[in-house]
Symmetry: none
Subunit: 241 residues, 2 copies
DNA sequence: TCGGGTTTGTTACAAGCTGTTACCAATTCC
DNA sequence: GGAATTGGTAACAGCTTGTAACAAACCCGA
């Protein structure tokens, strides 16, 4: 039995890190996130068994995020919220949450409920959830997630390294959404903090550009958002297979 | 989608019948019960999708009943109780309950939570019993565990060494799950530590690739997860024989 | 028991991947 | 305009992986 992988989504950094370390101490693999973009970025590259989602994020609504995730994913979601009125709980269950836990919560009870949901899911010998990789199209390009093939508009295949592919997946999961280097690094690696300081992401972006941009000097798709990070300025369609 | 069948267990007859009729009005099939004996009798004759079990029965303990049921059945159980202290809830989750709802409860919320559990159950394909399945299929290939035969998509038989076969079996048992060299070594041998240091797994993987990959230089199934190990990126089905 | 073929692990080397650094260009801010 | 900040990228070094070649171990029939 593999170790359960959780994604902890909360915009209060203290609470977020508290939960992450608490779960890690109890034998889970736990990653932090703060926004829908980060969730998507993380799901694009990582296996996740369960998402603990705070309902009140800075300027996003956990209920809506939950609804959107559920409309395409099957990943278990437990909503966490200071709002404990019945109608608010109902709203959570209606968008497909597996459980709804009120803050403040008893940490042990939280773990028990997480385990209860995981137990139910784990019955099937299925693997951890990972965003369905099928075929993606963007600006004439084609990425086949199953074969890991990137096909240029002219039909030729382009070879990407695994890291470049991972970056591409993160970008495809967040078209038109500016991503900071930190967000990208967090989605790409299991040790988000180690990447701090270096220019690894910049170089990686440069390498991907050199392979998928017609003119890497004037990137059309993988654009720089000066002072912020990068944006994948390209419409993306996902094809079910 | 069939109509969910519930079993309502409560010794307070008014509460019991209230719940039964309430659920029936909301499109469920609901049967009443009052004791462990009745539960067993009902389970012996009927399909049940979920049991709503009151924790405090006349002279029986819902927690213990839940534990006993769980030890032999996989039926979802939601505990209902006037006891709402954290340690009492914990006790419920510990014996395998899927949820624990305090009395008095909001009926709508109860239905929402029942649905949440049922949704999860439906989704996960029913556990396939460990029958002696000996034929596996993966990406056009066929592996007959009984005869130890590996048949290529073109119908030709490929000869694998025993070690290669063992590796294949490990991979077939863990499709889509990244395995470290250590995990593979541990699964293959009884002396995991002896393999440390060497490149035995790498070479073994290379040899298997050369036999089952169409293009061993660009493996489709037995992929490398750089920095981690290997993944069998291939859907696997087991055939009953 | 011997002798050949087969299987398996080890080693060594080549190739490829990735992060870091350093330097330069572009942009922004006074 | 000039300084400061930010981003691009070439070059490099360290590390990981693939695999050929070799040797030891194993198997099996004569």
């Amino acid at each position: 039995m593999t170790i359960p992988r959780l994604l902890i989504v909360d915009d209060d950094s203290e609470m977020r890190m508290m939960m992450v370390t608490y779960f890690q101490r109890h034998g889970f693999i736990a990653h932090p996130a703060t926004s829908e973009a980060e969730i998507n970025a993380h799901l694009a590259e990582n296996r996740v068994d369960l998402i603990l989602l705070d309902v009140m994020l800075a300027d996003e609504n956990g209920i809506e995020i939950c609804a959107r995730l559920r409309s395409e994913e099957d990943v278990p979601i437990i909503l966490v919220s200071a709002l404990s009125a019945d109608h608010q709980r109902m709203a959570g269950y209606e968008v497909g949450a597996d459980d709804y836990i009120a803050k403040p919560f008893n940490p042990e009870l939280l773990i028990a409920r997480v385990k209860a949901v995981l137990r139910r899911v784990r019955r099937s010998p299925s693997l951890s959830y990972r965003r369905a990789t099928s075929v993606w199209r963007f600006g004439g390009w084609r990425y086949d997630g199953k074969r890991d093939e990137v096909i240029a508009p002219d039909g030729y295949q382009v070879m990407l390294s695994s890291r470049e592919t991972a970056l591409l997946k993160v970008l495809l999961a967040n078209p038109h959404i500016p991503l900071t280097r930190e967000e990208i690094a967090a989605a790409l690696s299991d040790h988000p903090e180690t990447d701090a300081g270096g220019r690894a992401i910049d170089v990686l972006v440069g390498r991907l550009r050199s392979k998928i941009e017609r003119n890497p000097k004037a990137p059309q798709m993988l654009r720089t958002e000066r002072g912020t990070g990068y944006v994948f300025a390209c419409d993306v369609t996902r094809e079910e297979t």
